[in-house]
């Protein structure tokens, strides 16, 4: 029979590059800063249109020191966590139910699609009248944004589950709940996490949109403030904070993927 030994075959350089996770993102960051500085110098646009990296950095230190940054980002983070949580949980549950009852899917899908194509500003009055101008509306908008990609990927993911394995579970007389837990969740996880990747990224925009429409706290408010005061560096600080949030969420999902899909990693070349 075959024999297992502990030797390693991989090229140590490639290994280093691919295994040290911070190396490549760092490279991208430097690349980006380089391009930005170049644009700043070459285009020679006034700073209120395109500030230099250094200006933005100075501004960042300033708002960091006077607490404005934390005051606002923490609020957005809070909205966004709630929105992401409720949006993806409800989407998953609903997606599961719909995948089991195609008739319901057909009945509801016009509403679901509709809910995705209504711009918030258009129904802002209704939202504010019904749910008030506070936290709830913003969380709702964020949750709505997250909702759809997760829902669709749950639907697609569950449909993908191998019929043979369904029969296997049936042969053990597994209950619906057991089928969900032991078969459907693990089998659709790759697609599901793909939906979460998109959803997590969109959730940031979702949280911001509500703030842009009307809010006195959060990164969206900071953007409005910066724009209102022609303080473009502040706008940039807020935008980069957003990107940071989105990238962190994305990385968390990627990390989950890597952990959950160990059995699939062999397919990576």
């Amino acid at each position: 029979m075959a024999k297992r030994t502990k030797t390693q075959r991989e090229n140590p350089f490639i290994q280093k590059v691919t295994h040290q996770r911070w190396l490549l993102p760092l490279a991208s960051l430097l690349l980006f800063l380089g391009i930005w500085q170049l644009l700043y110098v070459v285009l020679n646009l006034p700073p209120f249109i395109l500030p230099s990296p250094a200006m933005v950095w100075t501004k960042f230190l300033e708002v960091l020191k006077n607490g404005i940054w934390w005051h606002n980002i923490s609020y957005t983070l809070f909205e966004l966590s709630l929105g992401l949580f409720f949006g993806s949980v409800i989407a998953s549950v609903l997606g599961y139910i719909l995948s089991k009852t195609p008739v319901l899917e057909k009945l509801l899908s016009p509403f679901l699609v509709g809910s995705q194509s209504v711009p918030v500003v258009a129904i802002a009055p209704l939202i504010i009248i019904w749910f008030g101008p506070g936290l709830f509306s913003k969380v709702l908008i964020c949750a709505l944004t997250v909702f759809f990609p997760v829902l669709v990927n749950v639907l697609v993911g569950i449909r993908q589950v191998s019929q043979d394995l369904r029969e296997l579970m049936d042969s053990f007389n597994a209950s619906k709940w057991e089928i969900l837990r032991y078969l459907e969740i693990p089998a659709s996880l790759p697609v599901l996490l793909g939906g979460l990747r998109v959803g997590a990224t969109l959730s940031v925009i979702g949280a911001i949109v509500g703030e842009l429409v009307g809010s006195d706290r959060g990164l969206g408010y900071l953007i409005n403030l910066g724009r209102g005061q022609y303080d473009t560096a502040l706008v940039f600080v807020a935008v980069f904070s957003l990107i940071l949030l989105a990238a962190s969420l994305y990385s968390i999902v990627l990390f989950l993927e890597r952990r959950a899909l160990k059995w699939q990693t062999w397919q990576e070349i």
Partner: protein
Amino acid sequence: MNSSPEDSLVVRDLKVSFQEKDGMLQVLENVCFSLHKNAFACLIGPSGSGKSTLLRTLAGLIPYESGSIEFPEIHGRKPRTGLVFQKANLMPWRTLAENIALPLELANTPREEIDQKVNEMVELTGLQGFETSWPHELSGGMAQRVAIARSLVQDPDILFLDEPFGSLDELTRERMSEELLRIWDEKRKTILMVTHSISEAVFLADRVLVLSGFPQGIVLDLPIDLPRPRDEHLRFISEFVQAAATLHEHLKI
């Protein structure tokens, strides 16, 4: 056919068909037979005659159009059934050991007991050292052995096996069938096994059922009255050869 108190499975006039895009595909009709407790029956028949379909129907995976399937109670409770599929049908996200453990986890068996039973099964099927391998890292025969182990680990009363030794080499095959016979004998199970080898059927079974394609059903129900335990030299005695020849004859129909 009347069911006797000794029966553990009674099938009457079973009819099964599949809905396909251009109409219905009739697969089984007029299938009648019963298995008594502690029966070891083999099912043979040409490729596509509906053997797997019959087993999947018995295991409750496919609805039947008409007829009846009865499982009389054993020890005052509904009998547990187990099915080994024709494909190994392993979960790619579970390691070898986790795949074997699946039915136990479903039955809420305590972790320790699971570990112990899984270990037994790994040894029985000769898979030591591969407990943490993923299914895609296994050879065809190894995967099939995992599937067998998975069905045995839950200790079912009635075991349906669909060509379980299909991709095992002859030695492993012999070892596995011996094990199967031992378990059957020891635990008094009812076994219905599909095989494509006439000699394997005669060698292992009390009865061999021959399933012919639609609409004939079971065309032969041949009792095999060879002594047990059986060993290799039996293959050359006349009853064996006779039975094999009869089966061969009926397969051609």
